[in-house]
C-alpha cells in the first residue's frame, strides 16, 4: 500500500520550515517522512543532538505539535513517561483522542549513551515509536566517533593518521539489538527510500507496542559530500548493501530490498571525504575487509529472512 505524493502535499507539516539544520541534512527528511506517515496527533520527544538544538532555539520552535527535550541519554525513558501519562489521562476520561508517541535520537543518543533507556522502554512494552536518525557520529559537536561510525571512517576522536585508518572496528548492529526485544517491531530504513521509510513508520505507529526504526540519515558536512548529494549517498548505502533495508516483526525478518547486483563498497567509500585516506596505496586490505564484512552481514540477513 504505497503512499501517493499528491496525498502528502496537503498534509500539515509537523516540522515546519525555518529550522536551522544544515542545507542537505538528512535528519529533517527523516522527520518529515515519519511524521507524515500517521494522521493521529503526535507528541514528540527528542534526545539532545542536531535535530533538537537546531529546531528549538529559544524563543523559536519549528515544531507544530507538543514537543519536549530534557537530556541526551533518555529519549526512551522520556517517551515512556509521556505515553504513560496519556494512559493515566485516558483512564480518567481527560483525553479522548488516540495520540501517538514519537521519540527521535541521533546515533550518539541511541547506539551509545541512550541505549539503556531505549532497551528499558522497549522491554516494558510502552506503545511508542523510536526513530534513530543515524548519521554515524556525533555530528552536532563536530564528527566525534560513535558506535555507529563505520570501519575506516575518520572522525575527530578516532582520526585517520600515519598510524590510523580511522575507526578500526565495525559498527554496532543496533537494529538487531532492538529486534532482540521480541515484543518490539524493529526496522531499518533510509531517507533515500521514502516509500520504504513511510510504510515502516506507518506500520510502527499502528503496531500495538514498542517500535524502533533505524534510519540512515546522511550528514553531508562530516561525511564530506556535497549538500546536494544527501539522497544519492543514502541510496548508494542501500545499493552497496552497506545499509540493508529490513524489518523484524514477531521474530520474523523480512529483507525489503535485494539489489540485483550489489555495487562494490568502493563506490560508497570513494564518494565520501571521511574515507579519503583509505584510497591511499597500502589501504587496499582495509577496503577488502570492509567489503567482506558488508557481504557477510547481508548473507546473515538473507539466511535469517529465509528461515
Amino acid at each position: 500500500m504505497a503512499f501517493l505524493l499528491k496525498d502528502l502535499l496537503g498534509k500539515d507539516k509537523i516540522l515546519t520550515s525555518g529550522h536551522r539544520l544544515c542545507p542537505g541534512c538528512g535528519a529533517p527528511m527523516a522527520v518529515k517522512m515519519v511524521t507524515m506517515a500517521t494522521d493521529n496527533p503526535l507528541i514528540i520527544t527528542s534526545a539532545t543532538g542536531c535535530l533538537e538544538v537546531s529546531t528549538t532555539i529559544y524563543p523559536f520552535t519549528a515544531w507544530d505539535t507538543p514537543w519536549v527535550h530534557s537530556a541526551f541519554e533518555n529519549a526512551g525513558a522520556t517517551i515512556s513517561g509521556l505515553q504513560t501519562a496519556f494512559l493515566a489521562w485516558k483512564k480518567k476520561g481527560k483525553i479522548d483522542k488516540e495520540v501517538k508517541f514519537l521519540a527521535f535520537g541521533g546515533d550518539g543518543g541511541t547506539y551509545d549513551i541512550g541505549l539503556q533507556a531505549l532497551s528499558g522502554a522497549l522491554e516494558r512494552g510502552h506503545d511508542f515509536v523510536y526513530v534513530c536518525y543515524d548519521n554515524q557520529g556525533y555530528m552536532n559537536t563536530g564528527a566525534q566517533r560513535s558506535a555507529s561510525t563505520p570501519m575506516g571512517a575518520s572522525t575527530t576522536t578516532e582520526p585517520a593518521g600515519k598510524k590510523s585508518i580511522g575507526k578500526r572496528i565495525q559498527r554496532k548492529d543496533l537494529t538487531m539489538i532492538a529486534a532482540a526485544h521480541h515484543n518490539a517491531y524493529a526496522a531499518q530504513s533510509s531517507i533515500s527510500h521514502w516509500q520504504d521509510l513511510m510504510s515502516k513508520a506507518k506500520k510502527a505507529f499502528e503496531y500495538e507496542g514498542p517500535a524502533f526504526i533505524n534510519v540512515l540519515s546522511p550528514c553531508v558536512r562530516f561525511w564530506r559530500v556535497p549538500s546536494s548529494k544527501t539522497v544519492e549517498i543514502a541510496k548508494l548505502a542501500v545499493e552497496t548493501n552497506f545499509w540493508p533495508l529490513f524489518e523484524i516483526e514477531n521474530m520474523k525478518l523480512t529483507l525489503n530490498f535485494k539489489p540485483k547486483e550489489r555495487k562494490p563498497i568502493i563506490d560508497w567509500i570513494k564518494a565520501q571525504g571521511r574515507y579519503k585516506h583509505l584510497l591511499q596505496a597500502g589501504n587496499e586490505p582495509v577496503i577488502d575487509e570492509i567489503q567482506k564484512e558488508v557481504d557477510a552481514y547481508f548473507d546473515y540477513l538473507v539466511r535469517l529472512s529465509s528461515i
Binding site: P41, I43, T45, E52, V53, T56, I57, Y58, P59, T61, W63, D64, T65, P66, W67, V68, H69, S70, A71, E73, N74, G76, A77, T78, I79, S80, G81, L82, Q83, T84, A85, F86, L87, A88, W89, K91, K92, K94, I95, K97, V99, Q116, A117, S119, G120, E123, R124
Partner: protein, 393 residues
C-alpha cells in the same frame, strides 16, 4: 478540635511514605528500587497490584530513567511521583536539575543514605546535600509521622500555581525508614479532598495548545530563565507557611520551617535536622532536669533556607553547635555554612561550632549529644575547626 476521623497505624518511615502515596493516588509513579528506599516501591507496587490505586506505574531500568520518565510524565500533565536514595539520587542528578528548571511539580521521598565510596547502605545526608543547588524544595522529617505529613505538604506546595517546583521529602535511611512508630493516618477521603485534582499550566497532552518544552536556551535568555527560577523558589518560601497551615488544619500538627525545643531560655543550642533532632530532645530533657539551659533548633525546610528566622532565633545565644550529617571535603558542611550565613549580620553573634556526625550510619548516641552540650558549656570547641563526633581519630 478536628472533626476528621483518624486512625493510628504502626508504620515505618518507608511505609508512611507509601501510605501517603496510596492516598494521594498520583497519575504516574516511575521508580527504581534501592536500599533503603526499596520498601516504598514494594509497598506501593502491592497497592497497585491490589487495585488500591489508579496510578500507572513504570518499573524503569535505572534512577536516571526514573527521573527522565517522571519528567516526561509531568510535562505531559500527569501528577507524578518517584522515590530514591543515595546512589540512585546521584545517578539521577542530571535529571534532578532539569526537573526543577522545567518547573515540574514532582514529589520524591528521598531516604537519605551515604554516598559511595566506600559503599555503605546506612544513613547520612551526603546524597540530598549534593542536590541542594538543584532548584528542588528540600524538606526533612524527624520521624515516620513527619514523613507522612510532609508528603501532603510537598504535593500542595509543588503544585501551587505560583510555585510549580519539585519537592524532596527527606527521611533518615534505616533510622526512620525502617523504624516502626505509631502514625496518625488520615481518612482517604480527607486526603483526596485536600490534594484535589492537579491542574497543570501547559500540559503536552493539551493538543489544542502545542508547546515546546526544553528548548535550547543560550546567553540571550538562559540567565533570565534562571532568574525566574530563583523567583519561583522565593515564592515557594513565601507560601510554605500557608500550605503548612492548610496541612495543619487537617492533621492538628504544626510544620514550621524551623522548630525549636526548650529554646527560648537556652544558652547553648544544637542545630540539626531529621532523626538526630529526636535524640537531641531526649538528651535536653535529661540535662534540663539537672538545671542546664540547653535547647534545640531543628531545620525542617533546608531549600529554600529560612535565613532570617534562624538569625532571629540564634541572636544572643552563648554557643551554637551545628550538627551536620554530611561532609564537604576541604570546606565546612552545608548546614553549618548556612547557619553562618544566617548570623553574619547579627550584632550579638553567638559562637557557632561545626560538628560532623553520623557518616555512613554511625550511631548518634545520647552520650555523644551530651558531649556536644558539655563541650559548648565548657568552651572546648573551636569555631574554625570541625569537630568529628564519635569518630576514631
Amino acid at each position: 478540635m478536628s472533626t476528621i476521623q483518624k486512625n493510628k497505624l504502626s508504620l515505618t518511615g518507608n511505609q508512611a511514605a507509601a501510605e501517603a502515596m496510596r492516598q494521594i493516588d498520583p497519575d504516574v509513579v516511575a521508580a527504581y528500587p534501592i536500599t533503603p528506599q526499596t520498601e516504598i516501591v514494594m509497598a506501593f507496587s502491592q497497592f497497585h497490584a491490589d487495585g488500591k490505586v489508579n496510578t500507572e506505574m513504570i518499573r524503569v531500568e535505572s534512577e536516571h530513567s526514573a527521573m527522565s520518565a517522571c519528567i516526561g510524565s509531568a510535562s505531559a500533565g500527569a501528577r507524578t511521583m518517584t522515590a530514591t536514595s543515595s546512589q540512585g539520587l546521584a545517578l539521577m542528578h542530571e535529571m534532578v536539575f532539569i526537573a526543577a528548571s522545567l518547573r515540574l511539580p514532582i514529589v520524591m521521598p528521598v531516604v537519605n543514605r551515604a554516598l559511595s565510596g566506600p559503599i555503605n547502605i546506612h544513613c547520612d545526608h551526603s546524597d540530598t546535600m549534593a542536590e541542594r543547588d538543584s532548584g528542588w524544595i528540600q524538606i526533612f522529617a524527624e520521624n515516620p509521622q513527619e514523613v507522612y505529613d510532609h508528603m501532603f505538604l510537598a504535593m500542595k506546595l509543588a503544585e501551587h500555581p505560583d510555585v510549580q517546583l519539585p519537592v524532596m521529602v527527606n527521611q533518615d535511611g534505616f533510622i526512620t525508614s525502617h523504624g516502626v512508630e505509631i502514625v496518625d493516618v488520615l481518612e482517604d477521603k480527607a486526603v483526596k479532598d485536600f490534594v484535589g485534582e492537579y491542574k497543570p499550566k501547559t500540559p503536552l497532552l493539551d493538543l489544542k495548545h502545542p508547546v515546546t518544552m526544553g528548548a535550547l536556551d543560550l546567553y540571550d535568555y538562559y540567565f533570565e530563565h534562571k532568574r525566574q527560577q530563583a523567583e519561583a523558589v522565593k515564592r515557594a518560601f513565601g507560601l510554605f507557611d500557608k500550605v503548612a497551615g492548610d496541612v495543619s488544619k487537617l492533621t492538628g500538627r504544626k510544620y514550621p520551617m524551623v522548630e525549636t525545643y526548650q529554646f527560648d531560655d537556652a544558652d547553648y543550642v544544637i542545630v540539626t535536622m531529621s532523626s538526630a533532632a529526636g535524640t537531641t530532645k531526649f538528651v535536653i530533657d535529661s540535662l534540663r532536669a539537672q538545671g542546664t539551659k540547653v535547647g534545640l533548633l531543628k531545620i525542617r525546610l533546608f531549600r529554600p533556607f529560612p535565613y532570617k528566622i534562624i538569625s532571629g532565633l540564634l541572636k544572643g545565644k552563648k554557643g551554637v553547635a551545628v550538627l551536620d550529617r554530611s561532609a564537604s571535603f576541604g570546606a565546612f558542611s552545608p548546614v553549618y555554612t548556612e547557619i553562618m550565613n544566617s548570623c553574619y549580620y547579627l550584632d550579638a553573634r553567638p559562637n557557632i561550632y561545626p560538628v560532623v556526625f553520623g557518616l555512613g550510619g554511625r550511631d548518634l548516641t545520647p552520650k555523644l549529644i551530651e558531649s556536644v552540650y558539655t563541650g559548648l558549656i565548657g568552651n572546648k570547641f573551636k569555631t574554625d575547626q570541625i569537630e568529628y563526633l564519635g569518630v576514631r581519630e
